[in-house]
Each structure stands twice: as structure tokens, then as C-alpha cells.
């Protein structure tokens, strides 16, 4: 305890946060994976996983153990270093972006002035990881997936940012905390419904969720960019995808749905996190719902939709907002 | 059955031997015997008459492999079985440019029987692996080959009787339509 006592509080806070963040990322992956499979089961009129643990709750743990125990196969003609690196490139940034998310008024690792920009920048890094993974696999299907991922990511980044900038115009700040505080009267989703919808659609594309799951469209590309990855490295991509989903929804909640605000609970400074999580998981539920309902769009349709509809509408929305704010 | 009558006349003008078959017993309406040189004219005629190609195959009988063409029509119930004989080393003209579907059927017949379809754009094995391209699995063993008349339908004493003489006439022009009645 003495060593702990001598550490500067800032460092202690960082170490603690890192542990919590990593634990949370894994727990979220497990929970979301379970939720996805259970909900998919419900949508498909079947019970979903039932065997491992009560109501199949330990299924994901069993799967995780299995994946860790699997051999990690590296294709002979791939670039070994990059091939090993790719899953971490996908996984690490999403963990990092956690530090600016305000779970409640007191539960936030660090409130950066540039919080929103930071989180967007870090999340976009996922695209690089996908490209690396697809490229070094030395597999044409993986390359297809990677190229699709980049084209899709670049395209959808634009309406996504445009819709987020409208909120920035309303709050005059990039700080995630300020975003939440500025919604004490009315949630931004009611002032900017168009921006919210555009953001959510772009978010689906950004996280490669159906109906925009083209980089890993298994009926066309077997498994897309992670075709060649096995065992624990596959599970890192899997975790990264779920964590990414979580962040896309967190941003939506922070910017549009009032963050941690909600009916008061005891110790609201901390327990606001409950409201925050609830809202995030409602959005995640919608994402899962969409995935198990719709067929996949075609690649040209995906890009057309972005460039011909989402981007112009988002631009128009931004212009109108700017005018209204200025007047 | 006016359309069928006309078709029979045209087929006889090719000239080919046409017999009416008993659909109840044989499952096709017309049986056509062709010389291998007439195969393309035959196919062109039926293509014009809006027939489709059900399959191309072969039967290995003594002295010659018989190529089978079965065609049917979308608009009228008329199924035609055509038989063209080729000699063991001989070839038969390809009809892959008339009926595109024949392409694969001819490739299959080629790899199974070794029949050469001259003019075929790509006569490579279709179902068999490349290394057993010369296997010709459906050719009969030396002692199992039967002469062609051992597999012909036996005259049952009724309708077939009248058609039997037509067989022996070979490629004469069929100017006697009453024979098919």
C-alpha cells in the first residue's frame, strides 16, 4: 500500500482507468456477443444459446476459451510481422477512445477539449487496421474486404462528421462533457433529428454492421478481411467490432440523447452511468435488430446511397443549422 | 397436330428418317435417324421451330457409337429423340453454336465416350479430372458391346410394324407421309 500511496494521483488514476477500460472492453464484448446471439435467436423463433450456464450465459466465455486455445495460423506468403500486428491495430485504438467517454458527470477518464475529434480520429484508425489485415493476408477475398472497408469508411466518414458538426455548432465545444451539459434542457435528438438519423446510418456503415457489412460479407467474400485470421487474432477483430459498435452508440448518446441525464437516482454523479448504459444498449439493440432483419446492400448501392443522399442531406442540414445558429 | 405433321415433312426433306413413337410406351413422340452430316441441318431446323435441347448423349453399340439428341418444345407436347451414328474413330459435327446448351453436353459425351465433336470451341473434360481425361468410362467393355439391333425395340405386332421398313431404307427422302399413320 505504501507504493501506491507514493504514486502521484494522476498516474494512479491512469493505471486504474486502463485496467477498468480493458476489463470493460472485454466484458462488453462478451455481453454484446451474448446479447446478439440471444436476440438473433429470438428474431428467428429459436431460443439461442441454452446449454452453457443458465440460459446459455456462459456460452461466450466457453467460446472465448476455445478461441484462445486454437492454433494461430499464419499463411505462408503473408507478411508475418504485419499479420501479427493487424489484430492489435484494430483492437487498441477502440480501447483508447474510451478515455473521453463521459459515463456520468464524475465518471470520465479525461475530458479533452478536443474530445470529439479525438474519438473520431481514433475510431477511423480501425480502417487502417482493416486495410493492413486484408492486404497482408495475401488472399484475394481478404483484399476485397479491405478495399471495400476503406472505400466504405472514407465515404461514410463524411456524412458522419457533417452530422456531428451540427451538434458542435449548437454546443460551441468539442468537449464530450460540455456536449452532455448543453443538453440539460432539451436533447439534441429533438433539435437535430436528421443529423441523428444520418449519424446512426453512417455509424452502421462505419462499424461494418448489416446491411452495410460488405467488408465481411460472408456469402460473397467468405469472411472478408479476416478470412485468414484464426484463434485469438480473429477474436480481437471480433472484440474490436463490438467495441466499435459500443463507441458509435456512446457518441450518439452523448451528443444526441443527453448522455447520463435521466430521472435522478441516488449518487447521481456516479449512477448516471446507468442511464448512459441503458441508452447505449437500446441503440445497440436497434443495431442488432436491423442486422437480423435486412439483406445486405450491394457495393455500388452502398456508395450511391452515401454520396447521392446522405452527404447532400447532411450538408444541407449543416447549412441550415449554421444559418439558424448565426441568426 | 398440324405443326407436328409439318415438322415431320421438313425433317424428311433433310433427308432424315422419321418415325412416330408411341409416347405411352417410349416417352417421346418422334424418333429421327440421322447421318452425321445432317446433324447440323437437323439442329438448325429445330432451333427455328423453337425446340430446346434436353440432352446430348451416346450409346456404345457394336460398329458405331450412337449419338442421342433429345429435344422438346415449350409450346406443344412434342419430344424428339434423334440418333446419329458415328464410327468408332469418327466424329460428328458440333451443334454448340446452334444450341448453346449443347456445349456442355458435348463435352460430357466426349469425355465419357471419346466422341469428337468437330467444330466444338472447347472440347475439354467437364466432369472428369484432367488426369483421367482419356478414361472414357461409359464405353462398354470389349465383350459387353452389343450389336445395335440387340437394343432395338421389338415389334409388338401393332403400330411398330408399319414403321419397321422405314429403318432399312436409310437416308431416302421421306415423301410418303401415309407411312407414319
Amino acid at each position: 500500500m505504501e507504493t501506491v500511496g507514493t504514486l502521484p494521483p494522476q498516474l494512479l488514476r491512469m493505471i486504474l482507468s486502463a485496467v477498468v477500460v480493458i476489463a470493460f472492453v472485454f466484458m462488453n464484448g462478451l455481453l454484446l456477443g451474448y446479447l446478439e446471439r440471444k436476440l438473433a435467436g429470438r428474431f428467428q423463433l429459436r431460443p439461442g444459446p441454452m446449454e452453457v450456464g443458465p440460459q446459455g450465459m456462459l456460452q461466450m466465455v466457453a467460446d472465448a476459451v476455445k478461441l484462445i486455445g486454437k492454433q494461430f495460423i499464419i499463411p505462408r506468403q503473408s507478411s508475418t510481422t504485419l499479420f501479427r500486428l493487424a489484430p492489435f491495430l484494430a483492437f487498441v485504438p477502440v480501447g483508447v477512445s474510451f478515455i473521453v467517454i463521459p459515463l456520468s458527470s464524475k465518471l470520465q477518464v479525461l475530458d479533452l477539449d478536443m474530445g470529439l475529434i479525438f474519438i473520431i480520429a481514433v475510431m477511423a484508425f480501425n480502417m487502417v487496421a482493416t486495410l493492413v489485415a486484408g492486404w497482408v493476408s495475401n488472399n484475394k477475398y481478404a483484399l476485397f474486404g479491405a478495399v471495400r472497408s476503406v472505400a466504405q469508411g472514407v465515404a461514410y466518414e463524411i456524412p458522419m462528421l457533417l452530422s456531428l458538426v451540427t451538434v458542435v455548432l449548437l454546443t460551441h465545444s468539442f468537449s464530450m462533457r460540455a456536449m452532455v451539459l448543453s443538453q440539460s434542457h432539451i436533447w439534441h435528438v429533438f433539435m437535430q433529428p436528421v443529423a441523428f438519423v444520418i449519424y446512426f446510418i453512417a455509424g452502421l456503415a462505419e462499424t461494418h454492421r448489416a446491411p452495410f457489412d460488405l467488408p465481411e460479407a460472408e456469402s460473397e467474400l467468405t469472411a472478408g478481411f479476416h478470412t485468414e485470421f484464426s484463434g485469438i487474432c480473429f477474436s480481437f477483430f471480433f472484440l474490436a467490432e463490438y467495441t466499435n459498435m459500443f463507441f458509435v452508440c456512446s457518441i450518439a448518446v452523448t451528443l444526441f440523447l443527453g448522455g447520463w441525464s435521466g430521472p435522478p437516482l441516488p449518487w447521481m454523479e456516479y449512477s448516471g452511468a446507468i442511464w448512459f448504459m441503458l441508452k447505449v444498449y437500446v441503440l445497440l439493440f436497434i443495431m442488432i435488430w436491423i442486422r437480423w432483419t435486412f439483406p445486405r446492400v450491394r457495393f455500388d448501392q452502398l456508395l450511391n446511397f452515401c454520396w447521392k443522399y446522405l452527404t447532400p442531406i447532411a450538408l444541407l442540414n449543416l447549412l441550415i443549422t449554421a444559418l439558424v445558429v448565426k441568426l | 397436330m398440324d405443326v407436328t405433321e409439318r415438322l415431320i415433312d421438313d425433317l424428311r426433306n433433310l433427308p432424315a428418317v422419321v418415325e412416330r413413337a408411341d409416347y405411352r410406351l417410349q416417352g417421346y413422340h418422334l424418333e429421327v435417324r440421322l447421318q452425321s452430316a445432317q446433324v447440323r441441318d437437323f439442329a438448325k431446323l429445330l432451333r427455328e421451330r423453337n425446340f430446346y435441347l434436353a440432352f446430348v448423349s451416346a450409346v456404345h453399340v457394336a460398329a458405331a457409337i450412337e449419338i442421342l439428341y433429345q429435344l422438346a418444345c415449350f409450346t406443344q407436347p412434342c419430344r424428339i429423340l434423334a440418333k446419329a451414328a458415328v464410327s468408332d474413330q469418327g466424329s460428328v459435327p458440333s451443334i454448340a453454336d446452334i444450341f448453346d446448351g449443347a456445349n456442355w453436353h458435348e463435352r460430357e459425351t466426349h469425355e465419357m465416350f471419346g466422341v469428337v465433336f468437330s467444330g466444338h470451341p472447347y472440347l475439354e473434360p467437364l466432369l472428369l479430372p484432367e488426369e483421367s481425361a482419356d478414361l472414357r468410362p461409359l464405353l462398354k467393355a470389349e465383350d459387353a458391346i452389343l450389336p445395335a439391333d440387340r437394343i432395338r425395340r421389338q415389334a409388338a405386332g401393332q403400330t411398330e410394324d408399319s414403321t419397321l421398313p422405314a429403318k432399312s431404307e436409310g437416308g431416302t427422302s421421306g415423301s410418303d407421309p401415309e407411312k407414319i399413320e
Binding site: A40, F299 | Y52, F74, W104, P121, L127, I151
Partner: protein, 371 residues
């Protein structure tokens, strides 16, 4: 690339799709020449499931080949067996009792529905929709249960016999089948709500390729693919076998021959099959289900052909006999073989995603193609 129609070669890279690929439905391999996402040439490579069934048919008494027939088109095995049994009956002149013919029609149509249901689920899976396959499998499961009760197997049925069927159907079978008809009719609404009106689905399948009657004639395309072009050709109508002539049913046709029409035709066909089953159950005659046949039954010398309308199109058996029990030559014409041969022409210059969609539309059963 060795194209089989001698087109001039264009610059592209090769992509090997299959034989292990989720959307080739078995062991089909398609060699693709690609330019980015666009398919320049598609060349199906067959034979990975080749078992030389025709030789097997020629090297044993005809009875011994009966189980093989259900291993050709294993998704619609009963219809496939129907053709072979029909052929033997045609050659030997044995007639099945009327009751047996009715049972054959009922079970064949149930099998056709189960085949279409499987196609529906798999097709939507190719389009990236996961959920419908669970619904269709749920329905298909009912059929498999019903057929299992009477035939003893769930997929590769060997139920038809020369002169009738192996086992008679009972009241439970009839009650279960009637209940299934009710159930499936109510399920069509779900499919229409979930799939037919889905904008993404429509955008994915409409106007991608157009089959024409002329293309169908050139390639010998039959079945729902042909009917989607507006040609109402159905062997059950044009060369009615068994007792199909007794029933009142329509042959659904499309107009434009695109994949949406194929989908609609197949859905409508399921409803028509239900109508046939219903009529057959209503009019099911009493009597024996199996005629007495001699133990040894040589096939008379000569040849015969028998065509049935399988779930995917015209299935024809052509048999040449030398008078013994062992067929001298057995030719099996499977619909998918011809239906697939159009792929190179159909899929020129289209997106990879569309190629997957078109492959799904063709409803391929690979063992039937490779035989």
C-alpha cells in the same frame, strides 16, 4: 482464360470461387476473371461431386439403382425417384394402383415445397439476410417430419416402388398434411412482409439480369427459371405423368425473367403445390398401395424416356435395355446442368455480389449437376 465461347481475352485477375465457398452451395467451383469488383468472365468448373451415376446404373439390375436416384437431386429426392420409377413402369408396362399414384403426387408435391423452402432460405442467405432461412427451415422441418413418418427417411427417400409405394399413408399423415397446408398458407404472409416488400431485397434482385425465352431455348433452361420469362412450360401440364392431369392447378409465370420474378414464381408454385395436395387428399381413393409385381422383372428390349417436372426443371431418364434386368445405357438429364450452363453468358460484366445473387437464383444442387 479458356473461355468456352472463344471471346477475346481481356485484362483481369483471376478469382477462384469454390469449391469451398459459402454461396456455391456445395462443391461447385466458378473461375472468375475480375476487373476490380466486376466479373469479366465466369467459368463454372464441374465434377467435384462426380460419382459416375450413369455407369452405376448400367452395372447393376435396375432395382439396385433405385436408392441412387434419390442421391442425385437430394433436395427433391422423391420427384427424382418418381422419374426413374415412372420409366421402369413405362418399360415393363406395370401400372400402379390409383391410390399409389395419388400418394406419389402428394409426397412429390410436399417434396417440391420443401425444396423451394430450402431455396428461399438459402437464396436470402446469399443476399445477406440471415433470419428467413430459420423461418423456412422451420416450415421445411414440418414436411420432413411428415415424410419421415411415411417414408422412413428425411432427405434421401427411397419410397416409391415399381407398382406403387412402399408404405400406405394413414389418417395421421393426412391430418398432419392438412395442418401443414393451413400453417404454410399463413406463413406466406410473413415471407411477403419480411422479404417481398423489403426495399433492399427488391433493389438487389430486380432488373439485374433478364432471362428471355430465346436464351432458355438455346440453353435448355427449364423449371421456374424458364417460367419467370413468361413461358408456361411445365411437364406436369405438357406431358402429364402419374395422375397430374386430374388436378386443377395453374402454372405461374412471370414476365421479365429477372430474379425477382423467379422468386415470385417459386413462391406461387408452392401455393399451387398446396392446391394439388389438397385436391389429392380430398379425392384420395381407397385400394391397395402396391401392385403385385414379379420378383424378377427384366426390362424389355428397346429404349424409353421419362420426364418429370422436378423442383428445378425437367428431369429426364433415358434408358436403353438389351432385354435383361441390367440397363444397357442409362442417361440422366438433370435440370441444373443446363440451367447452370447459362452462367457464363448471364454473368458477363456484372458485380461479384450480383453473381452470388444469380447463382442463388439458379437454385443449384451440385450432386445433380455432377451426377
Amino acid at each position: 482464360m479458356t473461355t468456352n465461347n472463344g471471346n477475346e481475352k481481356r485484362q483481369g485477375f483471376y478469382l477462384n470461387m469454390g469449391p469451398q465457398h459459402p454461396s456455391t452451395h456445395g462443391v461447385l467451383r466458378v473461375l472468375l476473371e475480375m476487373d476490380g469488383e466486376y466479373v469479366l468472365e465466369a467459368e463454372p468448373v464441374l465434377g467435384y461431386g462426380h460419382r459416375i451415376q450413369e455407369k452405376m446404373g448400367e452395372s447393376r439390375p435396375w432395382k439396385g439403382f433405385m436408392p441412387n436416384t434419390s442421391r442425385l437431386d437430394y433436395v427433391g429426392a422423391l420427384i427424382c425417384t418418381h422419374g426413374y420409377i415412372g420409366l421402369i413402369e413405362r418399360m415393363t408396362g406395370i401400372e400402379a394402383p390409383l391410390r399409389a399414384e395419388y400418394i406419389r403426387v402428394i409426397t412429390s408435391e410436399l417434396n417440391r415445397i420443401s425444396s423451394h423452402l430450402l431455396w428461399l432460405g438459402a437464396f436470402l442467405l446469399d443476399l445477406g439476410a440471415f433470419t428467413p432461412i430459420m423461418y423456412t427451415f422451420d416450415d421445411r422441418e414440418q414436411i420432413l417430419d411428415i415424410l419421415e413418418d411415411v417414408t422412413g427417411s428425411r432427405l434421401t427417400y427411397c419410397y416409391f416402388r415399381v407398382g406403387g409405394v412402399n408404405r400406405d399413408i394413414d389418417a395421421t399423415f393426412i391430418a398432419k398434411t392438412r395442418a401443414f397446408i393451413e400453417r404454410l398458407r399463413s406463413r406466406f404472409r410473413i415471407y411477403h412482409d419480411l422479404v417481398t416488400t423489403n426495399i433492399i431485397f427488391i433493389k438487389r434482385v430486380q432488373d439485374i439480369v433478364h432471362l428471355t425465352p430465346d436464351m432458355a431455348m438455346r440453353y435448355g433452361i427449364t423449371g421456374p427459371l424458364l417460367r419467370s420469362t413468361g413461358v408456361g412450360y411445365d411437364i406436369r401440364k405438357s406431358e402429364p405423368y402419374s395422375v397430374y392431369a386430374d388436378f386443377d392447378f395453374e402454372v405461374p409465370v412471370g414476365t421479365s425473367g429477372d430474379c425477382l420474378e423467379v422468386y415470385l414464381v417459386r413462391l406461387e408454385e408452392m401455393e399451387q403445390s398446396l392446391r394439388i395436395i389438397e385436391q389429392a387428399l380430398d379425392r384420395l381413393p381407397d385400394g391397395p398401395h402396391l401392385a403385385k409385381t414379379p420378383k424378377k422383372l427384366p426390362l424389355p428390349q428397346g429404349d424409353a424416356s421419362f420426364s418429370v417436372e422436378a423442383a428445378r426443371g425437367e428431369f429426364t431418364y433415358y434408358l436403353v435395355s438389351d432385354g435383361s434386368e441390367v440397363p444397357y445405357r442409362l442417361k440422366i438429364r438433370s435440370p441444373c446442368f443446363s440451367n447452370l450452363s447459362i452462367l457464363p453468358e448471364l454473368c458477363r460484366d456484372m458485380l461479384l455480389s450480383d453473381l452470388v445473387m444469380v447463382l442463388g437464383t439458379l437454385d443449384l444442387v451440385i450432386p445433380e449437376i455432377d451426377r
